[in-house]
């Protein structure tokens, strides 16, 4: 692997006594795209916010987050920075494209002036003409016509707003963009356009990407590696083809089986019973145990994430999957 850009170890987020994120380790190389997959409440968005140190005050985070700027600058210990110190990191080194671009733009400021504020945050002395040129360049980069600069958010379509959000994220030339469900509110055609844009930006700007989505097929298309989260933990991680082609955790396997695929089976697969667990009522041992058709006595003990085939890790006592016991029917409350 090429030089690491981001190293996260033992990331834990607590809300009072509940564990929202439970010991997440992540490594990201320069220019790499990592997909963070999972259902609602699994901790994927909380992980994103904690990487930016943007968690609400009620949540406490622990664990090391180290960024190695690719321009050769000093190593940045994100977890130890003060709020003031973080302001120098956000948008300049790491940007976040939030879920729901509809609500993240200022409704009473023109698009151009919002991008200008982002630029001036880090380059307060920039000349007006330089800022204007940079805005025009950014809009061009994300495939928007120059006139969008004069527009207000309500005059734009959902896809255009998402492009503006991406332009904002790029305003200070970060080396890492975290995109939280960037296409979830969009139709498939617009989704395809935005994904193509993200891919082009990676290629042209050497951008690293953490893409967060509940939609595994979006991640399959866009990412190099993937990490599947369940109840605050990473339960499986590896190269995207390996995880999708040969999942080693029963949760990943069942999720993939339930995805409809054009040209694939026109019958519904056996669904995963029950619903994602509430962090306040997380089961002991393996948190997928109550929904898992392979659960056995061993699962009362929490499995650690370990490499089960070269390059691919899973948090399951029975991985690799050749060792899964016979499945049984699980009686769970309807999800």
């Amino acid at each position: 692997m090429s030089a690491p850009l981001l190293e996260v170890s033992g990331l834990t987020v607590r809300h009072r006594r509940d564990l929202i994120v439970d010991g997440v380790d992540l490594t990201l190389a320069r220019g790499e795209a990592l997909g963070l997959a999972g259902e609602s409440g699994c901790g994927k968005s909380t992980t994103a916010l904690s990487l930016m140190r943007l968690l609400p005050a009620a949540l406490e985070q622990e664990g090391a987050i180290v960024l190695h700027p690719p321009d050769g600058g000093d190593t940045i210990n994100i977890d130890r920075r003060t709020e003031r110190g973080m302001q120098l990191v956000r948008w300049r080194h790491v940007s976040l494209v939030f879920q729901g671009a509809m609500n993240s733009l200022d409704p009473v400021k023109r698009v151009g002036s919002q991008i200008a504020s982002a630029i001036r945050l880090h380059e307060p002395k920039a000349k007006t003409a330089d800022v204007a040129a940079r805005i025009a360049e950014l809009l061009g980069t994300v495939g928007l016509p120059a006139r969008v600069e004069r527009a207000y958010a309500h005059q734009l379509s959902g896809g255009q707003r998402q492009r503006v959000m991406i332009a904002l994220a790029l305003a200070c030339r970060p080396s890492l963009v975290i995109a939280d469900e960037p296409t979830t509110a969009l139709d498939v055609v617009m989704q395809a356009q935005i994904l193509e844009l993200l891919e082009r930006l990676r290629a042209e700007l050497g951008l690293a990407l953490i893409l967060i989505s509940h939609d595994l097929s979006v991640l399959a298309e866009t990412c190099d590696r993937i990490a599947v989260m369940y109840a605050g933990r990473i339960v499986e991680t590896g190269p995207v083809d390996a995880v999708f082609g040969d999942p080693q955790h029963p949760y990943t396997k069942r999720l993939l089986d339930s995805l409809p695929v054009i040209g694939g089976a026109r019958e519904l697969a056996t669904p995963i019973p029950g619903g994602p667990p509430d962090p306040a009522e997380a089961p002991s041992g393996c948190s997928f145990r109550p929904r898992c058709p392979y659960a056995a006595e061993a699962c009362e003990e929490t499995p650690t994430l370990r490499e089960v085939v070269p390059g691919q890790s899973a948090a399951c006592h029975f991985a690799p999957w050749e060792r899964w016991p016979e499945p049984v029917v699980v009686a769970e409350e309807p999800g």
């Binding site: 989704q191 891919e199 409809p260």
Partner: protein
């Protein structure tokens, strides 16, 4: 056999916007019909028009062979055709218990009270919600999937012949999604229900639907057997939709966005975005032409009589 519902040359206008513009469609008994398209294509308006919730500007809607008009026909319709919505968080009355929510259609239609409890219990069981466990809960005590199950149960108590499902699983978690789809499919089989499945997700339509109608800017641009339409789309728009479903092998997303339905393009309304447009497309508004497969038709001039597939690719 008379279709469950039928629309003929239906138009619905919202001010200057033509939300539906000349739609003709049959929804047959017992079939799962998919209505597919991007937001703004008119698919939800079509659903509302079928239920008599928006007045047509032109054309007709009929149920069981009878044209909808007066209050009496709407009342009959609402017993035989029900609807569930996308957002299970917004459609249930938060101050009512599950048993009351599910019983409400019985109250509204004047079914004798003695029957309520048994019918509510049966409907809840059919959607996998044990009455003893769930009947006394409030919506906030339920998960998203459980709420959608309650919404389905409340359509079942009137023993409908069809349910219109407007993006019923798009707001649910992946693992819960397939549970709800299972519930709907089992009901469809057991009760010979007709389902009208509105979705922007073609892969879902592939998995569930018998037939598909693809909509673009207030029109049906293609319809036919689900497998034919998705495997051999006759309209370039359908083809673009199929190709946009992730994970994609090629990168060739359709450019542009849906035009304003108040300022429709002249000629074929898809021509400004169409990768295969040719000379007459900005002048001639295409009707639905046969694609060559049984009951499969598409509104594209490439299919107009005389142009063979070979000459088509030359033009494109």
């Amino acid at each position: 056999m008379t279709p469950l519902m039928e629309v003929r040359d239906l138009a619905v206008h919202y001010g200057p916007a033509k939300a539906l513009d000349g739609v003709s469609l049959e929804w047959r008994r017992g079939e799962i019909l998919g209505i597919v398209g991007e937001s703004g294509c008119g698919k939800s308006t079509l659903a509302r028009a079928l239920l008599g919730l928006v007045p047509p500007a032109a054309g007709s809607v009929s149920a069981d062979g009878e044209e909808l008009g007066g209050k009496a026909s709407l009342r009959t319709l609402r017993r035989s055709v029900q609807m569930i919505f996308q957002d299970p968080y917004q459609t249930l009355n938060p101050r009512r218990r599950v048993r009351e929510i599910v019983a409400e259609p019985l109250v509204v239609t004047g079914v004798v009270k003695a029957e309520h409890e048994a019918r509510v219990a049966r409907a809840l069981e059919e959607v996998g919600m044990a009455p003893a466990r769930f009947a006394d809960r409030y919506p906030h005590q339920l998960s998203g999937g459980q709420r959608q199950r309650v919404a389905i149960a409340s359509t079942l108590v009137l023993e409908p012949a069809g349910i219109v499902c407007d993006e019923p699983v798009s707001m649910l978690d992946v693992s819960v999604r397939s549970q709800i789809l299972h519930v709907l499919l089992e009901l469809q089989r057991a009760r010979e229900l007709a389902l009208l499945f509105i979705t922007h997700d073609l892969s879902l339509a592939w998995q569930l639907c018998d037939r598909i109608a693809v909509m673009y800017l207030g029109r049906i641009v293609e319809q036919g057997d689900a497998r034919d339409v998705i495997e051999r789309p006759g309209h370039p728009y359908t083809q673009a939709l199929v190709e946009a479903v992730p994970p994609r092998k090629q990168r060739n997303a359709l450019g542009g966005e849906l035009p304003d339905p108040a300022a429709l393009p002249a000629g074929c309304r898809f021509h400004p975005r169409c990768p295969r447009r040719f000379e007459p497309c900005d002048q001639v508004d295409p009707e639905l032409y046969p694609t060559g497969e049984p009951a499969h038709e598409a509104a594209c001039l490439l299919l107009r009589g005389g142009s063979s597939p070979e000459s088509r690719s030359d033009i494109a």
